[in-house]
């Protein structure tokens, strides 16, 4: 997994909390910085893809590892 600037553990949280927490964290970050999000909600895979497409923040990586979902989002 590539380097990241901040990490957000959204494990155990259900829709729409992972997205809302991610958005809040991104708000506090600078353009170009990368956020690593960990989630357990299977719906978050499609949701983070849709979030990136609609907000213009780039989804650099999306993968499942050890029963958890990992996302890297670069702030636009």
């Amino acid at each position: 997994m590539a380097a990241f600037d901040q990490e957000l553990d959204a494990s155990g949280l259900n829709c729409p909390l992972p997205i809302l927490r991610a958005k809040k964290t991104l708000n506090s970050m600078a353009s170009g910085q990368v956020l690593h999000i960990i989630a357990t909600d299977p719906g978050s895979v499609k949701d983070f893809d849709a979030f990136a497409k609609q907000t213009g923040n780039e989804l650099m990586e999306s993968k499942e590892e050890g029963g958890k979902f990992h996302f890297l989002i670069k702030k636009a």
Binding site: G12, L13, N14, C15, P16, L17, I19, L20, A22, K23, K24, T40, D41, F51, Q54, T55
Partner: protein, 159 residues
């Protein structure tokens, strides 16, 4: 790119039906939408500082019942005193266990994201509701004000 707009009318005041407006509003706001929710009739319950929202299986054959209760309690059993309170506590416990946000939390997240809450003035008068019991930041207006925003919205939902 011009900001998209979402207009929602929230008409229901039960715990289960409180979720769709707040989930959709908070998510849309996170996606960059400008959002307004117009609360009318029973939906006004969702604006109270102290929420006492409940669920009822009555008249709702689609509600999954824990432990096969629907088999052991036919419709009349569900009308017993205390049944609604019990179903509500069970639903809340399940939501907590599954990491589903509380209505209070979602509502606060909406307000943080500048979702605008509008209470239907007519229903407030009709039911003699006390605005002092509502959370701060609520505006009061009527149908025409709703259309001013809804008429320009990209998505408009009646819940």
């Amino acid at each position: 790119m011009e900001q998209k707009k979402l207009a929602i009318i929230a008409t229901k005041g039960s715990l289960d039906w409180a979720y769709p407006p707040f989930i959709l509003a908070s998510t849309a706001a996170a996606l960059g939408y400008e959002v307004q929710i117009f609360f009318t009739f029973y939906g006004l319950q969702l604006l109270k500082k102290d929420l006492s929202l409940e669920v009822t299986p009555l008249g709702n054959p689609g509600m999954p019942m824990p432990m096969g209760m629907d088999k052991w309690f036919p419709v009349l059993g569900l009308t017993l005193p205390g049944m609604q309170g019990m179903m509500t506590s069970m639903m809340k416990a399940k939501m907590k266990k599954k990491g589903v946000a509380s209505i209070e939390d979602l509502r606060e997240l909406c307000q943080e994201a500048e979702v605008k809450f509008i209470a239907c003035q007519m229903t407030v008068d009709l039911f003699e509701l006390n605005p002092a019991e509502f959370i701060d930041g609520v505006e009061y207006a009527g149908a025409a004000a709703f259309f001013e925003f809804a008429g320009e919205s990209d998505i408009c939902l009646y819940i």
